[in-house]
């Protein structure tokens, strides 16, 4: 009992081939879209690679780029096959490779589904990379005279301004590191000496944040220094003050930014997968309808098309039987060889 059998006359076959050719063109454009999304994602990761400790995995965007290119190639071949299927002389040369081509398409669709799953799952390793990278970035904020780290201050400032965030988890992260370089500290002043002697490592720690943490929506000029000291500023209560500096941590901000991007890409890849499955089924119909012509000489005769020759269960058992037979065949060969060897020796 064939799966989803459909009767085809010449007109229907021609219409199927034409529609399928058009759908292949859309699939090529979808492949280009996947490729460009992979490229875009790769560039976005590169842009912030300093904050990811230069350690981020480019696996997912590379896979997207590869899959996009492969999709373009397979769909171009499929389109050519459809185009030739209307002419029985041209179609003959494709007949032999059509079955392996369809199996290739099937594996490609599995690959697409796996890619989409990876897009959704990449959020977790990204979160860890960002946490580590931001922590180090903040540590090197003051090292604007150290080669290799001199742009960290600018990168962090621009990032905090752009993503409207402050610190790693929140603004208090800035209280735990020295972000003012020693070059700009007057070590003869009492205040500096007090702060340095107040902690074990001799770091100049203070309850202040860089200017890039300031929120422009605040009604009052930004309070960056002595944030936790209510008496240092007129009419100020740091427990109730909400708009002064950004409340969100940069790790959260970046993860939600990249997470959103990856979710969108994952959904698009799933839609492309559906399109690919549709064209694969269409091509199978074209293949079967052209191989079952009632009268092989007459191109206008009727034919039947199906997705699978037998039902799913029977096809599966067939495949298993084939594989077992191949395995047994090898074993029998080996035994025969051993016997031959034994008899010879």
């Amino acid at each position: 009992m064939a799966l989803m059998k459909v009767k085809f006359d010449l007109k229907k076959r021609v219409k199927l081939a034409q529609m399928l050719w058009l759908m292949y063109w859309f699939s090529i454009m979808a492949g280009v879209l996947v490729f460009s999304m992979g490229l875009f994602f790769k560039i976005e990761l590169r842009k912030r690679s300093e904050l990811m400790d230069n350690n981020e995995s480019h696996f997912v965007p590379n896979i997207l780029i590869g899959v996009g290119l492969l999709a373009c190639f397979l769909n171009a071949c499929g389109g050519k096959i459809c185009y030739d299927s209307l002419d029985s002389t041209k179609f003959v040369k494709w007949k032999s490779i059509l079955k392996p081509f369809l199996i290739c398409c099937l594996f490609f669709n599995f690959l697409l589904i796996v890619t989409a799953a990876m897009c959704f799952a990449m959020r977790i390793p990204l979160e860890f990379t960002l946490a580590e990278g931001l922590k180090n970035g903040m540590k090197y904020y003051k090292d604007t005279d150290t080669p290799g780290r001199c742009y960290m201050k600018r990168t962090l400032d621009l990032m905090q301004i752009e993503f409207r965030c402050c610190g790693n988890n929140n603004y208090k992260d800035w209280f735990e590191i020295q972000w003012v370089s020693n070059r700009y500290l007057d070590f003869s002043s009492k205040e500096v000496k007090d702060r340095i002697s107040s902690n074990v490592d001799g770091k100049y720690l203070m309850d202040g944040v860089p200017f890039s943490c300031c929120n422009p929506s605040s009604p009052r000029p930004c309070i960056q220094q002595q944030i936790t000291n209510n008496s240092a500023h007129y009419s100020y209560d740091h427990y109730t003050e909400e708009l002064n500096i950004w409340k969100r941590g940069c790790r959260d901000a970046l993860v939600s930014y990249y997470g959103g991007m990856m979710n969108t890409i994952g959904i698009l890849v799933l839609m492309v997968t559906l399109l690919q499955i549709a064209v694969m089924i269409g091509l199978q119909y074209v293949n079967t309808s052209l191989s079952t012509l009632v009268n092989p000489e007459d191109p206008e005769s009727e034919s039947e098309g199906w997705i699978l020759e037998k039902t799913v269960k029977e096809t599966f058992t067939d495949i298993m039987a084939n594989m077992k037979a191949m395995g047994k065949g090898n074993q029998v060969d080996e035994e025969a060889n051993e016997e031959a060897v034994a008899t010879v020796s």
Partner: protein
């Protein structure tokens, strides 16, 4: 003397019609792009409308949008005329429509040139408008509790961050206004009282700037306050310090931004103008060449095409005469409406 006469054999006419039809499609897209460019420019100007005092400069995007839409219509007509020109039975119906159509199209296309010229000529007006707008913005920076002005602070801060600029002409503009609201000043403290008393208007002026003037590329944490006091900060000299704050004024930054936009748009608009004029000239040739064919039995004869039947001067004189006649007819129409009363009176005495 005919202006720029060209001979048109049948094949050449057909080729002209086909090429023109294709070109009219291209020009239609070009017109749509001009419209889109106008919309984009208008949006960009509107985004910063809070720091602009007058809306004079908006005439440039308005012109571009109007011309873009009109040229789409003109090119659809031109395409239709080309299609019909290949069929001599259908072409005559365009006869009365084409001359006013040409005048209208030439006028619309020349508006593109006007828009380009205006975009350069209005630069001083834009600068003046920005100067006043920014001055007001800086003055009302502290009024975050006054309805209608409560977003000035956010607007100015975001502007300074995005365009990497500080103040109107430079950062010293902030020294001349009180940008800290009195709500956040402790009037019992000596420092505040000193500052308020030190100037005639009783304003709290200081040599400090808002945080949005800070330059992230500076190697040291941003110095916002006591900018002119070298002793207030360790290892600091304001005369040589270049990277601490943005050096550029916001007026100059915005003017360069908009001029840059218009300089990019200029070549596109010029291209559209040239394309449109080419189409109009070719359509005129096609029209005049086809006029020689209408009424003839053999469609494949050679005809002549020209831009103007007589020389430029003569055509202008003729047009003047035509317009005068039209006006005279209008006047005579009025005069004859008033004279019928006198004529029967003259006749009556003759018969009586």
């Amino acid at each position: 003397m005919v202006l720029l006469k060209i001979k048109f054999p049948f094949q050449k006419r057909v080729r002209l019609a086909q090429g023109l039809w294709l070109l009219s499609w291209v020009a239609m897209f070009s017109g749509a792009i001009t419209f889109a460019i106008g919309v984009f420019l208008k949006t960009e100007l509107h985004r910063r409308s809070e720091v602009m005092h007058s809306m004079d400069i908006h005439i440039v995007p308005n012109l571009l949008m109007a011309v873009g839409l009109a040229s789409v219509g003109i090119n659809i007509c031109a395409g239709k005329v080309c299609q019909d020109s290949l069929d001599t039975s259908r072409f005559p119906r365009w006869k009365t429509f084409l001359p006013p159509f040409f005048c209208f199209s030439v006028f619309i296309t020349s508006l593109l040139l006007v828009a380009m010229i205006l975009s350069f000529a209005l630069q001083p007006s834009l600068e003046e408008s920005l100067k006043i707008g920014l001055k007001n913005g800086i003055r009302f920076y502290k009024d975050t509790d006054t309805p209608g002005r409560c977003f000035q602070k956010e607007t100015i801060d975001r502007l300074q961050i995005e365009f990497q600029c500080c103040g109107n002409t430079n950062y010293r503009d902030w020294f001349e206004v009180q940008w800290i609201s009195s709500r956040y000043l402790d009037f019992t403290s000596k420092e505040v009282k000193d500052r308020v008393r030190s100037n005639v208007d009783g304003r709290y002026l200081l040599d400090g700037v808002p945080f949005s003037c800070c330059n992230p590329a500076s190697p040291r944490p941003c110095i916002q306050y006591s900018l002119l006091d070298n002793s207030a900060h360790y290892n600091y000299e304001y005369q040589t310090e270049e990277l601490n704050l943005y050096n550029r004024g916001c007026r100059q930054a915005l003017v360069s931004y908009y001029m840059g936009l218009m300089n990019t748009i200029g070549p596109c608009v010029l291209f559209d103008f040239l394309l449109q004029m080419t189409i109009l000239v070719s359509l005129r040739y096609l029209q005049t060449a086809m006029e020689g064919v209408i009424g003839q039995e053999n469609v494949e004869i050679e005809t002549e095409g020209y831009i103007l039947e007589k020389g430029v001067k003569e055509t202008l004189l003729e047009t003047k005469e035509k317009v005068k006649k039209l006006l005279q007819f209008a006047q005579v129409g009025d005069a004859s409406a008033t004279t019928p009363g006198t004529q029967p009176d003259e006749e009556k005495p003759a018969t009586a």
